[in-house]
Symmetry: C2
Subunit: 123 residues, 2 copies
């Protein structure tokens, strides 16, 4: 298709800082109606990802430690990547969103399977 | 595309019965690695939907009552519906999955934006 991640990614995204609690992460997801929260260091570098599935997992495992339930090895996308490559990464890992990072690993957006799915109306 | 919901829907899906607790719903989502759980009556009719976002909401609202946090007015799809129509419904309501129901409102599958997104590689 000649469509790139930068053409469809969401740029105004919520992120959370290291040290936040599970309750606080759940409150941000509820207030902003979102399901994916990149965790960033004080210089905005990506260090992890918390999803609503991870919050649900914390109830199943009776854990109150965000560090225990978050994902540290995050699959990401580059802004100049074709959307087919992003879709393939999400399919192969059974995930539905990729933080978009620049060359310094700073989070500049989020691309989701929802954003790709809605393109189907144009094909 | 001439693709219909029945061509891409997941048929082997987990459902939960009325009366289940938030903890139990969270455990099913964790064990099956899923984010959407249709709630069905004793005769398999759709009565509601619980997602991992709703479980996360229960922490934000400090609620322990599934009935309070589940969605009762569920947007669904029919198996003979074009996938473009399903994608349009999900986009307009900011949701990422639709239970697929037969003419008796029995749940026969689930269609997700992930299933539609992965078709992009074929266009
Ligand atoms: C494997 S998925 C399974 C459930 C469901 N398919 C979903 O997308 O949430 C759930 C796990 O994937 C992780 N995850 C989500 N997006 C990710 C990404 N871009 N990179 C690495 N892990 C990710 C979450 O942190 C969570 O632990
Ligand atoms: C509006 S979405 C916002 C967050 C995120 N976009 C997502 O898809 O989870 C969250 C709410 O949508 C509801 N929901 C999800 N799928 C639905 C469907 N097919 N019909 C009605 N409500 C649905 C969930 O129960 C949850 O309360």
């Amino acid at each position: 298709s000649h469509t790139y991640v930068s053409d469809i990614m969401i740029e105004d995204i919520a992120t959370i800082k290291e040290g936040i609690s599970i309750d606080e992460a759940a409150r941000v997801m509820f207030e902003k109606e979102i399901t994916h929260l990149p965790l960033v260091s004080s210089d905005s570098k990506l260090v992890g990802l918390v999803t609503s599935w991870d919050i649900s997992k914390s109830i199943a495992l009776k854990s109150d430690n965000l560090d225990e339930i978050m994902t540290k090895n995050v699959v990401t996308a580059r802004p100049d990547e074709p959307i087919e490559k992003a879709a393939e990464k999400m399919e192969s890992k059974d995930i539905s969103a990729l933080p978009v990072v620049d060359e310094n690993k700073r989070v500049i957006g989020l691309v989701t399977s929802e954003d790709i799915s809605r393109l189907i109306e144009e094909f």
